[in-house]
C-alpha cells in the first residue's frame, strides 16, 4: 500500500462521529450556560445595577461557577459531551485557565501554576488581542479619527 493509499484507508476506518448529535448537545448546553448567564444578569439589574454595568459582575459569577465545576472535576465531563457548547462561552475560557493552574501546582506556585496557567488560554489571548488590534486599525481607517 502506498503512503497516500494507506492514509486514505486509515481515514476510512475511523469510526464515524455523529455531527448532528454533537451540534444538538452543543446547542443545548451552550444555550443553557447562556441562559444561566442571562438569569444572573437579570438578578444584578433587579438588584439595582444599570444594565450596561451588570455585564462585568455577571462575567465574574460565571467565571467563578466554571472554576468551581472545574475543581469538582465536572466541567471537563460536560465539555467531553457538549464540545464547543461548553468550550466557547466565558466559562470555557475559565476552565482553560483553571485546569492547568490546578494541574501544574505540583511543580510549584511560580514555575508550575504561575508559568503554565496560560498554556491553553495564551494563544486565545495573543490572537484575540492581535485580531482586536487589526480590527481597531481597520475601523480607524474607515471611520476616521475617533471611530464610530
Amino acid at each position: 500500500m502506498a503512503d497516500r493509499e494507506y492514509l486514505a484507508r486509515a481515514s476510512s476506518l475511523t469510526p464515524a462521529v455523529s455531527y448532528v448529535r454533537n451540534a444538538l448537545l452543543a446547542f443545548l448546553v451552550g444555550g443553557a450556560i447562556c441562559t444561566i448567564g442571562q438569569i444572573v444578569w437579570e438578578g444584578f439589574v433587579a438588584y439595582g445595577f444599570p444594565e450596561a454595568d451588570a455585564f462585568a459582575p455577571t462575567a465574574v459569577v460565571m467565571v467563578f461557577l466554571s472554576a468551581l465545576f472545574t475543581a469538582l472535576g465536572l466541567y471537563d465531563q460536560m465539555v467531553k459531551r457538549a464540545g464547543m457548547g461548553g468550550a466557547l462561552p466565558i466559562t470555557g475560557f475559565a476552565n482553560a485557565m483553571v485546569s492547568p493552574a490546578m494541574e501544574f501546582r505540583s511543580e510549584g506556585l511560580v514555575l508550575g501554576t504561575g508559568a503554565r496557567m496560560f498554556q491553553l488560554a495564551g494563544p486565545v489571548l495573543v490572537y484575540g488581542l492581535a485580531t482586536a488590534f487589526v480590527a481597531g486599525v481597520v475601523l480607524l481607517v474607515l471611520m476616521g479619527r475617533g471611530g464610530a
Binding site: 484507508r9 486509515a10 476506518l13 469510526p15 462521529v17 471537563d76 465539555v79 461548553g86 492547568p100 494541574e103
Partner: protein
C-alpha cells in the same frame, strides 16, 4: 568456539534465536480502576481504585513509580526472592527521561538498564533481559514497565480537568505496571526467539491516531519474524500485538494480507482491544501506553501458556517513537514493533 555453543544465534538481520531459551517463571501485574473494570480484571495481581492509586505517591509521576515498584516487588516475591537478588533490571516508561523507572530502581536499589521503546517497552525489555540471561551475562534479570493514564495525559496531551473532546481514533493510556522475572532455568514459558523492529512510517502525523502510525511497523515485524524463523501464522496459537486499537489492528491485518500473510481473527489479538470493553468503557479506539502490552502479556497471554492452553505465541509490542515537540513541529510519528516468541515448557 563452534556455533553450536552459542547461546544466541542470528537467524536474520533483525531476528535472533535463543538456543537455550530462558524461562519467564514468575510475573506480576498491577492495574488501575478502568483496567480492573475491563475483561482482563481477573488476571491482575492487584488493582487500585482512582483514590488508591493516589495513595501510591503525592504526584501522578510518583504514583506511576509506585505502581512499577509494586509490580516488581510482587514478581520477585512470587519467586521467593527479593529485589536484591535481581542482577539486572531492564525497564522503561513514557515519562520525561524515564523518571518512573529511575526512581523505582533508586528505591529498590537495583542495577538498572533503562529502556525507551514507548509502548513497545515490554517486548524490548524482555528480549534484552532474555539475551543477557541466555548469554550468561547475568543469572536473574527482570523486565518491567509502567504507565499511568493521568501522568501521560498531562505530559502528552491536556491538563486533566481541561474540557476537550477526544477524536474517535484516540486511545486510552492504561494505568498499571507489569514485571517479568527471567532466569536460565525454570518452568517456562520460555523466550525462544525475537525480532527487533525498525522504525517505520507511512506518513501518519496525527497523535490522536497512533494505531494507524504503528500498524505498518507491526506488519513489517510480524512478516520479518515469520520469514526468519520459517513459520506460518497457523504455527502460533496467539499473535498478540501491543496497542494498535480498533483502527491499527485492522490496518495491520490488511497490510499483512497484501503480502500474502493471512491472520486468523481468533488468534490475532491486540492488548489494546483486550484490556477494555470498548462498547462499555469510554476508551475510543482502545487502550495504549507502556503498560498496555505488558498487562496483556501478564494477565492474558502468559496465564494461557502456563495453563497449557497456548503452546506457542508471538508478542508484538508496538510503540510510537514521537515526542510532543516533534509532533508540534509537524514530523511523522515513527512506529516500531518488537516481536518476542514464547514457547511453553513441553515445546522446549
Amino acid at each position: 568456539m563452534t556455533t553450536t555453543m552459542l547461546a544466541a544465534r542470528r537467524i536474520g538481520r533483525q531476528t535472533t534465536r535463543l538456543e537455550a531459551p530462558p524461562s519467564i517463571g514468575t510475573w506480576a501485574s498491577v492495574a488501575g480502576e478502568m483496567e480492573a473494570a475491563g475483561p482482563l480484571a481477573d488476571g491482575f495481581d492487584q488493582s487500585y481504585s482512582m483514590t488508591e492509586v493516589a495513595t501510591l505517591g503525592p504526584t501522578f509521576e510518583q504514583a506511576e513509580a509506585g505502581l512499577l515498584k509494586e509490580a516488581i516487588t510482587r514478581a520477585v516475591g512470587k519467586a521467593g526472592r527479593s529485589p536484591g537478588d535481581v542482577d539486572r533490571l531492564f525497564a522503561g516508561d513514557l515519562l520525561d527521561q524515564l523518571v518512573t523507572t529511575s526512581f523505582t530502581a533508586l528505591a529498590l536499589d537495583m542495577p538498572l538498564l533503562g529502556v525507551y521503546g514507548a509502548c513497545s517497552t515490554s517486548a524490548e525489555s524482555i528480549l534484552l533481559a532474555a539475551t543477557f540471561v541466555a548469554c550468561g551475562a547475568c543469572d536473574l534479570a527482570m523486565a518491567a514497565t509502567a504507565s499511568h493514564h493521568l501522568a501521560a495525559e498531562r505530559q502528552y496531551r491536556y491538563p486533566i480537568e481541561a474540557g476537550v473532546q477526544r477524536t474517535p481514533t484516540a486511545q486510552w493510556t492504561a494505568t498499571g505496571a507489569a514485571a517479568f522475572l527471567v532466569s536460565r532455568e525454570g518452568p517456562g514459558p520460555f523466550v525462544s526467539a525475537f525480532t527487533t523492529g525498525i522504525p517505520t512510517t507511512k506518513g501518519v502525523t496525527d497523535v490522536n491516531n497512533m494505531g494507524a502510525a504503528m500498524a505498518p511497523a507491526a506488519a513489517d515485524t510480524i512478516a520479518t519474524h515469520l520469514g526468519a524463523v520459517g513459520a506460518s501464522p497457523e504455527d502460533y496459537d496467539v499473535i498478540l500485538t501491543g496497542d494498535l486499537g480498533i483502527v491499527g489492528h485492522q490496518l495491520c491485518r490488511e497490510l499483512l494480507e497484501e503480502r500474502g500473510v493471512r491472520l486468523d481473527p481468533d488468534r490475532f489479538k491486540d492488548s489494546g482491544l483486550l484490556l477494555y470493553d470498548r462498547h462499555r468503557q469510554d476508551v475510543h479506539a482502545g487502550g495504549s501506553g507502556a503498560a498496555c502490552s505488558a498487562l496483556g502479556l501478564a494477565a492474558y497471554l502468559l496465564p494461557l501458556m502456563a495453563g497449557g492452553e497456548v503452546h506457542r505465541a508471538l508478542l508484538v509490542a508496538t510503540g510510537s517513537l514521537h515526542s510532543p515537540t516533534t509532533s508540534q513541529q509537524g514530523l511523522v510519528i515513527p512506529g516500531i514493533a518488537h516481536a518476542v516468541e514464547f514457547i511453553e515448557g513441553a515445546g522446549r
